[in-house]
Symmetry: C2
Subunit: 404 residues, 2 copies
Amino acid sequence: MNEKSAVERAGVCLATGFLAAGESCGIKSSGKKDVAVIVSESPADAAAVFTRNKVVAAPIIVSKRHLQNRRARAVIISSGNANAATGEQGIRVAERMCDQVAASIGCSPKEVLIAQTGLIGIPLDEQLAVDAAAKVSGKVAVGGGMDAAEAIMTTDTRPKLAHASFEHEGITVTVSGMAKGAAMLSPSMATMIALIVSDASVDPAVLQGALDAAVQDSFHMMSVDGCTSTNDTVFFLANGASAAPRISSKGTAAYEQFAQAVRSVCISLAQQMAGDGEGSTKFLTMTVTGARSVSDARRAARAVTQSLLVKCSLAGENAYWGRVLSELGASGAEFNPANVEIRYGEHLVCSAGVACPHDENAVDEYMRGREIVITADLASGPHQATAWGCDLTHGYVDENMAKS
Amino acid sequence: MNEKSAVERAGVCLATGFLAAGESCGIKSSGKKDVAVIVSESPADAAAVFTRNKVVAAPIIVSKRHLQNRRARAVIISSGNANAATGEQGIRVAERMCDQVAASIGCSPKEVLIAQTGLIGIPLDEQLAVDAAAKVSGKVAVGGGMDAAEAIMTTDTRPKLAHASFEHEGITVTVSGMAKGAAMLSPSMATMIALIVSDASVDPAVLQGALDAAVQDSFHMMSVDGCTSTNDTVFFLANGASAAPRISSKGTAAYEQFAQAVRSVCISLAQQMAGDGEGSTKFLTMTVTGARSVSDARRAARAVTQSLLVKCSLAGENAYWGRVLSELGASGAEFNPANVEIRYGEHLVCSAGVACPHDENAVDEYMRGREIVITADLASGPHQATAWGCDLTHGYVDENMAKS
């Protein structure tokens, strides 16, 4: 096993002091792994970002309560049933799952966070869920990171992991994350489930700040279908097990290194989600430059990645820049269309807002690749932003036509 | 020929004093009809609504100039080339098309309005366009309404026409409209091309007010794919040829009748557009009741019609109400999820925000129909709104993957 695959197999356990497990517990009718538990050997500072959807799933209601003291020892994540639109019964099930994890590992239920993903509106069997929590909690180990990453997948075709590390006073600090994506993904909020862990020691308010900043540049800039889920959750636990000095405020060199590590992990996970959108065959990186403000740049880049027409063009390997220009114009960003340049890869196809001569064979060849980079220069200011998306294919339609 | 088909064949010429023609002029490579001209025998008061896209097509730039005096004699509409992102050349072509219509029928170029639809970013040949304007202007007749409706189609599978009439001091006043839709359709603006005409005599400010109000309840409440075009245009011409007294202010009984007729024509056209979305097999009517405000009701109803996941569920004939609830929650409307009721047709499937017992066979049977009505009661106030949409199928993807 080479070093890369060893790192990949470690998953979130690459950060010191984290144990994980993922098991099949009967929530998914397919029999695939469906429950993950991640435990910090010592109490960790905790931060989180949740969906902005008015309809929030039971696990979010429970996790918000448990997060009030900003400390956590464990996270349980189940897939196959969202436990959303399930009323008081759903809240009770989520609470009891946390209770069971707490009993198994020996901590307060308030130190256990929960996230769930899957179908909406279907009651989750209480005994099944509690038994699952007991079963998986009993199996956490340093080698369980990949099993945990697999257990949170729904229609994802592959697990999503990312890592970054830096030196802080001679000690290596690691930030490690895992996520699931696939659909109901939109930039209105971190529309997915992700768990980021670090062996850094970080003040919880600083931890939340670093997470919020990273989410803006990563999960908020990624779209598969523009749908905001009832269950979107990003948890971030930092347990200090690296023994590096505590990061207690922003503005220090250590904070900057830490924030950059968090950002790179979140961006990598967001890219992996966009690249594994349901039915997708293309991964789009859309960069807008020359914007009057960062918010204009973000708005414009996201608008292109969310456009059904642009997404269909990508599926058809068609460099139809007119649709890109139209979405920029509809985005609400301020610019003069007569100054816009649009490139597919290195190929300039639109200059001064109109078609310009280009090598059509070379562009056709470029569009046959899996990774498409579109760059639009609005020529209106110094700001830029990048968003990630995918194409729209029969596969997405088929996946979401199907009855569960 | 029965009365209905005679009415349908009349198209916009059902209103007194309007002539029309539609011809094949070589803009579409298919050889189908692609240019329509509609002429009022006497100068008409005119109103319009245009796209909010920052990138506006040449015909919109020209029509805005020509509309400054709020009078019009003719409208020319071409399909197959949007004449968008075509720079100064595009503006010159649109101006010359208006000049040619004016010369042919004997009016000022400022009295000619223009709309165009089709591919973005491709220069439109100037001589071809001017010749087309001359050819079609020479053929306008009372019997040309259906040809005109066909000539403005792009991927529409059928022409879209609507009519309404009322009595004003013993005289029948008619409002008649035609439209094209199919794709790049979203509620952010009347994202389509429509021409409404009436033989009423109406003050132009009142005409604009009646149009603005009708657009809010019709074209703004209709979505095929959430994409806002560069070319969206609704023109409204009223020529007074009915000889009914002039409508000079709001608040009169005649104005209310007129506004209602305009509204019903616009809603019918919007419904026809949603029901003929590219690749669509289902027509969705989404009504939200019990909202705290009209804007909340509109926002919530539109969110459901725009959801890719809801659209795929419709294609799969799957009454997955969890996705409807999630979109209501993500819409920004204020409500308590624990009080929501959702119905498919008459079938209550979600009560108090959770699943409720229902006859699954009857719901399955209902979902096999082409027209699906979903009603969500937010139980938060007295307001309601209805939006229209369609399903998302392979057909939409295929249509928009294709290279032109």
